[in-house]
Assembly symmetry: C3
Homo-oligomer: 142 residues x 3
């Protein structure tokens, strides 16, 4: 049994951008000699989210619409108000969406592969782009 | 230290159905010779949720009402519109609820038992039933 | 490779109270001889949340406001109604907020330290205080 660690970077071009990163995570994990174990994938940031769901175009539009409905980009947040905060990005909505959707997933590894269901994709949601982001991958297994 | 893996299936009879699966998860884990470790329990699907909370009848009604209030079943989603999607189940609400509530839990194992608090139950929420679902259980420990 | 476990208690003075517990978690983990591994931090309760985000004063105000907007404290919940429940605390909102924000985080350990990003803090949100809470810390590593 051993522990392995790597990280990779993601870029984005839009303010809000949702991507399927299943392949890049699989590739990162396949470099480790692990047949069975657990993979932990974390963003190292606080204004983007990482979760598992189906990556289907119209569903991703629905997801963005839900995020805007529950946590609107312009929601009159204190964090975006120079009287209360020195953050100049106006990104409170991105922090709050990340808190709701999560920033971390843990997935089993069996037969050398991530144990994902047929429709499950690893989804990265940038809410404060364009930005370069670091994703950390930790694996325990043998 | 070793890795163990199993899975089990759950059925449902209603469109939306919330169940306490603590016992079946405990039983799945007790078959492994593990005294201390970590258990990772994941659904392999994208329209149901897995999380920990108190399983109390009226609270579960409140949870379903919250889900319907935040993400209504008929929300005019693109994923449910044949012009934008070939999904014929009309289940965008189930995907979005799953994204908010999560599909995975990780719990410590100590003295051969899941380390859960007195009121903590492992809760499975079906949002696109009736359906048969697979739950994956991965354990690392010794 | 070994498994370690400890727990610590947190108190609160307000009904709703959000704290940065990064330091106390770091201290709990540093007592273990682990250079690389995974740390799993769970609350053992169902009316408080544990998650990672930036701990900045005005953002925490925004987080509390979002919680109250999405899941109001007085939301006419069945769990708070003596006709349907024998819970006398009126804390359905706290259960539902915990279900949305999560009660568990998993973080990699590398070079003997939790692998957190520059702005990432481990945040504990009490929604049913004042209360004494137990946080469980499980580490696998070497």
């Amino acid at each position: 049994m051993k522990v392995f660690h790597t990280s990779f970077c993601l870029g984005s071009e839009e303010r809000t951008e949702v991507s399927d990163i299943t392949k890049v995570v699989r590739r990162a994990i396949q470099q480790f000699p692990v047949n069975v174990g657990i993979a932990l994938i974390n963003t190292l940031h606080t204004t983007c989210a990482l979760f598992i769901n189906e990556f289907q175009g119209s569903l991703i539009e629905d997801l963005k619409a839900m995020a805007e409905r529950i946590v609107p980009e312009r929601g009159g947040y204190r964090h975006d108000d120079p009287r209360y905060s020195d953050c100049e990005r106006g990104n409170a909505h991105a922090h709050l969406r990340a808190a709701l959707l999560g920033r971390s997933i843990a997935v089993g590894i069996n037969d050398g592969e991530l144990t994902l269901g047929r429709f499950q994709s690893i989804i990265f949601a940038e809410f404060d782009g364009p930005r370069r982001r670091e994703i950390s991958v930790q694996v325990i297994g043998e």
